[in-house]
Amino acid sequence: MRSDGRPWQVLLVGAGGIGAPAALALAHASLSPTVPRFEIVCADDDVVERSNLHRQILFSEADVGRDKLAALSAALLEIAPRLAVRGHRGRLLPAVALELARGADVVVDATDNFASRFLAADAALLTGRPVVHAASVRWNATVLASSAVGRPCYRCLFEDIPDGPAPDCATAGVIGPVCGVAGALAADLTLKILRSDASAFGHVFTYDGRRDRLRRVSVSPRPSCALCGDASARSIVEVEARRYAGPACEALA
């Protein structure tokens, strides 16, 4: 619990392939009396499609066509009836990103495209919120957490949105349980952050599902990082919409 007695607010951005297993693990964890009390605010604007079902394990055929927020909260309440789950019907967009991040104690980036990922990184750091980034495509997952001041942050590692079309994003596909690995790791990092456990930061997890190989590699702060680097290097000081122009990519979640 926070010092003001309210539960922690976890902003889960994306109720898709990674949001589902992350929320499932968080909901089960919330049943433990040793886990800090938290609520989930989930931001998404999608409806469940049949092609989601191979990876979005909280949804079934009966949910097809249903609002993802409604389907997700119903599934989570079955796991943890006392867990408060609220919805923000909409994507993470530049106009609302700072406000959404400011209302949260930790941001979980379970989005499906590079533009949203960088926006989540920037909004979290600019509002001083820790953020957990989780992504998966094809057989691979990548997960890392950044503290409220970065050092390191997502941009220390990935700098900027790749030029041109994202790597085959419309056609790449993804293995369902690889999203599950990303979501499970994201849930654990989120819980570490709620416990003020600094070991959440400074590493990137990578998973290769083809070989079932999970690695944790140290990440160093990059002094030239535009988001969290030295004062002279910091060029990102506000959320400017033009920075996040990029194609949406379902396949990345």
Binding site: W139, G173, P177, V178, G180, G183, K192, S199, D212, L214
Partner: protein, 101 residues
């Protein structure tokens, strides 16, 4: 017949394709059980289209030290997901010849 609409995102993955999806449908995943890890694995195995799901020998293990992943629920979700990733690789990638595990 494979349900191409439902499995399209998985079929698109390099190494799977329609033949891999058929192989998954013809395989069984030994993951079921009462532990949360097994329940998560069962969800992923059903979602991936395995032809049959049979009981596992026991609780599935996450295969990571607690310094990496500490929370029991997160470890269970990780264990369940990894077990099905292995099962998918074993049934779909086995067609390519080489050992993959």
């Amino acid at each position: 017949m494979i349900d191409a609409e439902r499995f399209v995102r998985q079929i698109l993955v390099e190494g799977i394709g329609e033949a891999g999806q058929r192989a998954i449908g013809a395989s069984s995943a030994a993951v079921a059980g009462g532990h949360l890890a097994n329940q998560v694995a069962e969800l992923y195995a059903r979602a991936a289209g395995f032809g049959a799901i049979t009981p596992a020998d026991g609780p599935l293990e996450p295969g990571v030290p607690v310094e990496w992943v500490a929370d029991p629920s997160a470890r269970a979700a990780l264990a369940g997901a990894r077990a099905v990733a292995r099962a998918i690789a074993a049934s779909a990638l086995a067609r390519e010849g080489g050992p993959c595990l």
